[in-house]
Symmetry: C2
Subunit: 467 residues, 2 copies
Amino acid sequence: MKIYSTMGSFCKKQFKLFILLVCLCPTINVIQAQIPLPKVQQLAWQEAELGVLISYDLHVFDGKRYDQPFNRINPIEDYNIFDPKQLDTDQWIRSVKAGGFTFAVLTVTHETGFALYQSDVNPYSLKAVKWKDGKGDILRDFVNSCEKYGIKPAIYIGIRWNSYMGIHDFVTQGNTQFSKNRQTYYNRYCERMTTELLTRYGKFFFIWFDGGAHGPEQGGPDILPIVEKYQPQAVFYHNLQRADVRWGGSESGTVPYPCWGTFDYPSWFQYSGAKDNFKPIKYGSENGQYYMPAMADAPLRGYKGRHEWFWEPGDEPYIYPVEKLVDMYYGSVGRNATLILGLTPDPEGLIPQQDADTLQAFGKAIRDRFSNPIAESKGEGKEILMALPKSKTFDQVVIAEEIEKGQRIREFSLQVYKKRNWQTIITGTSVGHKYIARLPEPVSGEKVRLIISKSIGQPYISKCALY
Amino acid sequence: MKIYSTMGSFCKKQFKLFILLVCLCPTINVIQAQIPLPKVQQLAWQEAELGVLISYDLHVFDGKRYDQPFNRINPIEDYNIFDPKQLDTDQWIRSVKAGGFTFAVLTVTHETGFALYQSDVNPYSLKAVKWKDGKGDILRDFVNSCEKYGIKPAIYIGIRWNSYMGIHDFVTQGNTQFSKNRQTYYNRYCERMTTELLTRYGKFFFIWFDGGAHGPEQGGPDILPIVEKYQPQAVFYHNLQRADVRWGGSESGTVPYPCWGTFDYPSWFQYSGAKDNFKPIKYGSENGQYYMPAMADAPLRGYKGRHEWFWEPGDEPYIYPVEKLVDMYYGSVGRNATLILGLTPDPEGLIPQQDADTLQAFGKAIRDRFSNPIAESKGEGKEILMALPKSKTFDQVVIAEEIEKGQRIREFSLQVYKKRNWQTIITGTSVGHKYIARLPEPVSGEKVRLIISKSIGQPYISKCALY
């Protein structure tokens, strides 16, 4: 396999003209300075590509279908239903690893308010239950398993809903002085819980506040300074001031194309376009001034009309088949988003076998598809040229930008040279961290070129590969 | 010392006439049948005479003055302030025993909602704290110490206020569906907490629901059936259907005279006469159809303008002096009520030395006063006659009815025979379990007689003693 760089073929005249323009024209400098650049953690987020959300809460054990609006306002009577006799976070994380996922998020608190760790702030936690004589710490086990298998640990903290404490959409019930005091109490409780979570379990890759962490300006807890103090390296998601990543606007595991890695506001929550089917966050903003790549999320048990983040009896037929997960991969990672797939241990405390098998098959399918490029190159500039080995075909194209320099490409095409003729087989707009095209049929030819017909500043291609 | 019974002097003619009337006249039978009789536990309550309430809660540890209205609506931020390093319930109960008290009540939950035991229903309990690694159970220790020292264990359960759960005067905050669901949840939580308390720690002498346990008819938990199922022997205090004893209408440790052991309603809460300075419950009802003796309660730290059930810094000057506690004894036990004195361990977990010393001195003072009667008798009928030893004086009189037959005396006098003359030294109305008179000066004479000038049915005197 030969790999040609386009650098040598870069036109020297064009290059000189470019340098001249850079020197003479302040406007171009300004344009380049305005290219939003990712923070270190945003880069890592995009490079991570695939993560899982492991959702686990009391109602997994109630034997009933989860009904979110109902469960949000109906505390579970007996928290001692929580009794996962075979709980094994190693088994969870082995499944995650086998699926090719690089990070794992644990719902350390979800909407019941029940906490899967040893809290000194929230008594409604693993200290309260008979399970493991009140000494269990699933977050600790989870982090240890992640370290063991080289998976980045991350946490999901729910403070917006808390059926135990009577919190609905961040707020206490009622308008009495007592209600106001309890709001203050609850806000401190969230802050103190966040502090213990972020200081006792090492570094988290990603810190996900379910439905946000609205701050004091909305009457909520002051969460962001705690995250910035104790885990400055983490991807923070999100409050109204800051969101390192944005929701991709659906729980389908996919984003539409183009899905720009930039947005017009430093956070997305107020500008999600909920009334417009979340169009702004689905597509992002081509010229947005804030770097904010998308997250595409979906539960593994979300096929054929079900959509369950939590284990419930009889949901096995609704596990996505591998080919649907592969489609999801193209529709998320292949469109510059990070995919988070929802897993849920069963009441025994294990990722169910069928779920685990599916993850393994998915991991294999992705590895099989992207392990052996027939040609691959990288480079700087408007064109990348690659020779194609004879008697080889390709039906997939992966293009990636060096996004530490920002998402620069605005328009591109991929052309194949065959029978003395350049034929365009792909045209596109957004590339970003990764663009993957599936071609309708295998293509062969003598050479291939990637043409960047429009970009902000110089484009940097970290990868152009054909499979 | 000679003791004369009046039984021998009972007029045979009168007795025959009485039997005749009983046989011939249904009206008299009806009157006798209507004398309200105490239940076994009410008898025990009155015989117990002296108890303590041991109040202990999170705010003992906050170093601040307790402000009940404030504390009821301001949850304590950090429950790990609860850290009584030297806690020793044996020391508590030894102090109780030394004071001559026969039962002890522990505030297993008070108004914070924090529970002093290992609850599987209320996570805001000793399972939550670092103290004793979350394994402490003060109720268990307390019951064990009570058994060790022969003190009857009793519990005080607070469900009316719960600053942690947002409960104020039995109810949740707000009027949303969520609030209503939380009310249902909280009611079940109270029922389930009561069930575990009443099934795990053996028999309680007395079960005190702070501010009542309003039932389903008021939107509250259904507590009474739980008490009746698991602890039918206990004194139940109280809900709107049943109160085995009634509050004496003040927290002065005294009741006024007369303080009848009967009341017009099966519970007192709705008929306490709050607007009339609690007159109905202070006095009771001479002809009340329900047996319901009074409780006189006061905190030991209630002297000179302070009134503190809970330990607070600097309250030592407000410990009642022994002579004031002795006055309290006359004003409660001496008036047919049971006295409950409030004790509170300090943040180290001990009854403070000055409090313990005061209890011991009080116990000695009462024993000294009532250990050696100069004359004592008992009997049935309208008169009890006792000879007095020569050269002895008395300045205290104790009279007691056999209250298992009901409180029957309505008017009595005590007369002393001296210099060929009967002189009335005491007149009174209510006797009940115990009546104690202090005379302004020592009295001597040849003999003494107790005359029951008015009673419902035959009076039964279990004790008439002079000291």
